[in-house]
């Protein structure tokens, strides 16, 4: 038997010392970033518990960017806003930790991820602490009292609006029979597809068939073959997905010689995934705003230009309007509530009525805490170029709530 007390002891002491150092270090934890210098104690602090890394960051970051800019805008009227960001890494456990540290650090409101699994972890914390939480970039019954909690809101394009707009647009174009291709890696695309099917049937459309794939599948060759086998039996392919898998699907559909129009939704907004698809044409997606400088609302184009100037690159998707829109909604509600106290702000948001935001007018539905009347832009790709195609106000998206569970 050999004794090694010295090394063991020093190891133990070392470990305890490091722990103590950490405990001491966190006393000074003060993640200051994106704040508004010069604005003092009176401002409302929004803690941004969003992804700067990981799969959902492409959706989270643009909204954060314009929210932070709007908070710093000296010309803005209404209550002062300040934004503090911490990275949840597209990970639920981290999101819960970040929610705790942000609210401990004095956040009055919580901005949460666009992804339901991640947002769910954040709202478990904010709801318990009586703090209003919002996601700028999506909305549906899950981000609200029927799902994550009574103090949770979604200010983005609702899943129901996407489904309704997709169906109306497809029918308007005269495409009566479609083939569905649905991504099952998350359930968001499937919910849009399911709402689409319901509304499309109401509008007299029919479905020739349906295939599923997963976002990280290397190849959708077998699905493409089955769709190809129905060639001539459908007018368009309806794709419910998101990048990068959705881009892969578009590419492989075209590679398989399927040249019908492809109609998709907000999940496929943006041109960044399409650089590898030469001369992509007849592709349609939905967006809350055109990121290509040709939006029918001039203020949106101004914001896109300002965004490009500030970040050094043009916005990747229409999500850049979400932050600016959210700032307007929050300023209106904060002014009405007279503060950020959970219950008071909640009542103010529920009774807010229609608000003028940068991209148009929006109304918060008090039952679902969702926005169903946001105008939808159809974006079209022609010969590899993306641009604004059509403005839509889909009819009664809220009626699709039962079909998008």
């Amino acid at each position: 038997m050999k004794t090694r007390p010295t090394r063991a002891t020093s190891l133990l002491v070392g470990v305890i010392a490091v722990c103590a150092a950490l405990t001491a270090a966190c006393g000074g934890d003060d993640s200051p970033s994106g704040g508004s210098p010069g604005k003092g104690g009176g401002s409302t602090v929004i803690g941004a518990d969003i992804a700067r890394t990981g799969y959902i960051s492409a959706f989270d970051l643009p909204g954060y960017q314009t929210l932070a800019s709007a908070a710093q805008d000296p010309s803005a009227e209404g209550p002062e806003l300040e934004v503090k960001i911490a990275d949840n890494k597209s990970d639920a456990t981290t999101a819960a930790n970040v929610a705790t540290s942000l609210t401990d650090g004095g956040a009055d409101l919580l901005m949460i991820s666009c992804s339901y699994p991640i947002a769910a972890a954040s709202t478990a914390i904010s709801q318990a602490r009586n703090i209003v939480a919002f996601t700028p970039c999506t909305s549906d019954q899950r981000f609200g009292p029927k799902g994550l909690g009574s103090l949770v809101y979604g200010f983005g394009l609702s899943i129901q609006s996407e489904a309704a707009a997709m169906a109306e647009f497809t029918a308007d174009q005269g495409w009566k029979r479609v083939y569905l291709l649905e991504d099952t890696a998350l359930d968001y695309p499937g919910r849009v597809c399911s709402g689409f099917k319901h509304r499309f049937a109401e509008l007299g459309g029919t479905v020739a068939g349906q295939e599923t794939f997963k976002n990280d599948d290397q190849s959708i060759t077998s699905q493409a073959s089955k769709i190809r086998a129905h060639k001539g039996d459908f007018d368009a392919v309806v794709l419910c997905s998101y990048p990068p898998g959705g881009g892969k699907a578009v590419l492989q559909l075209r590679q398989a010689g399927i040249s019908t129009p492809i109609v998709s939704h907000y999940g496929m907004d943006g041109a960044f995934w399409a650089g590898g698809i030469p001369h992509l044409s007849d592709f349609y997606a939905l967006s809350p705003a055109s990121a290509y400088g040709d939006d029918p609302v001039p203020a949106v184009n101004d914001l896109a230009a300002a965004y490009a100037k500030e970040t050094g690159q043009a916005p990747a998707t229409g999500a850049f309007v979400y932050g600016a829109d959210s700032a307007s909604i929050l300023r209106a509600a904060l002014a009405k509530a007279g503060g950020a106290k959970g219950d008071a702000l909640n009542a103010a948001l529920e009774g807010l009525g229609t608000v003028d935001v940068l991209s148009g007018k929006v109304t918060i539905d008090p039952t679902y805490h969702a926005i169903f009347d946001r105008q939808v832009r159809v974006i079209r790709a022609t010969d590899g170029k993306f641009g604004f195609f059509k403005l839509l106000s889909p009819k009664d998206p809220a009626a699709l709530v039962p079909y998008t569970n």
Partner: protein
């Protein structure tokens, strides 16, 4: 019937891709006993190199990617796997996990999560139709590439003195050293060859996807590795066959599983893999003289 034949054609094209990656896994394992999970990240890194060199045209980009991939593989060998040469095979496998994880997160840090899209005009596109069936030109290229690389590797191993040294090292490392084979050179050579193969995989993969994301190669290496182990890591043909079988099975499952079970293709595949490992732990294609190096 025609749908079934078409699904077999589709299965071949996915199988070829996984077979190509499994071939790289098998080569490395045969020579240095490393089941290298990080090969997937080498593929991803090569694809980023292709992206970085896209303005230089196909040849320029491939040249850049070759340099990057070979340097990365050599660095991996020198910094991680050479010091661990005497470690158990399972430990090396776990260590390659850590290498892959670190590299992937570094790529994420450097390039961000968004897909970087690119395409080379000279890569084949479109389909070839014969009698109602079709296959994409890219799949044909993949199948041809697997054949060419397999033949080239066999030629290298059988016909060159470097290959003979490599096979000697693969049969009995200690003995090969004793008779004067420079083990480090052979090992480094094997790693460098997998770097070259990774560039080929990256080229096909990025053309199939239309770009690159930090997790591009991870999916492929998971199935290629399972395939290589199932097929038999000790023979190049075994590893490539295993990779092909796994890829083809996955494709057939996604063609023919009923809708209710559509999501479970990976579950069924993995169950089959576990069963094969138990029934034929030495691999589908058995080697004659290989033995576990102690």
């Amino acid at each position: 019937m025609s749908a079934f034949v078409q699904s077999l054609i589709d299965a071949c094209s996915l199988g070829a891709l996984y077979g190509l990656e499994a071939l790289a896994v098998g080569l490395l394992f045969g020579v240095v006993r490393v089941a290298n999970f990080a090969l997937g990240t080498v593929v991803t890194t090569s694809a980023y190199a292709l992206y970085a060199g896209r303005d230089a045209g196909l040849a320029g980009a491939v040249g850049l990617a070759l340099v990057v991939a070979v340097v990365l593989c050599l660095a991996m060998e020198r910094l991680v796997f050479r010091p661990l040469r005497t470690a158990p095979v399972a430990t090396l496998f776990i260590a390659s996990f850590a290498v892959a994880f670190t590299l992937e997160k570094t790529l994420l840090l450097a390039f961000g999560p968004d897909q970087r899209s690119f395409v080379f005009d000279r890569m084949p596109s479109g389909v070839v139709s014969v009698g109602g069936y079709y296959v994409t030109r890219l799949s044909l290229l993949t199948i041809v590439l697997v054949g060419v690389l397999l033949a080239a590797l066999v030629g290298l191993l059988r016909g060159t003195s470097f290959g003979i040294r490599m096979r000697a090292a693969s049969d009995d490392f200690a003995m090969a050293r004793l008779v004067g084979v420079r083990a480090n050179a052979v090992t480094a050579g094997a790693f460098a060859i997998t770097g070259v193969m990774s560039v080929v995989v990256a080229l096909v993969l990025s053309a199939q996807v239309g770009g690159v994301t930090p997790s591009l190669g991870t999916n492929v290496i998971v199935f290629a590795l399972l395939g290589a182990v199932v097929g038999g890591l000790d023979r190049l043909g075994g590893a490539a066959t295993g990779g092909f079988v796994v890829g083809a099975t996955l494709s057939l499952l996604s063609s023919w599983l009923p809708d209710r079970l559509a999501g479970f293709d990976v579950s069924f595949l993995v169950a089959v893999v576990i069963a094969l490992l138990l029934l034929r732990p030495g691999g589908l294609v058995r080697a004659g003289t290989m033995k576990e190096r102690v």
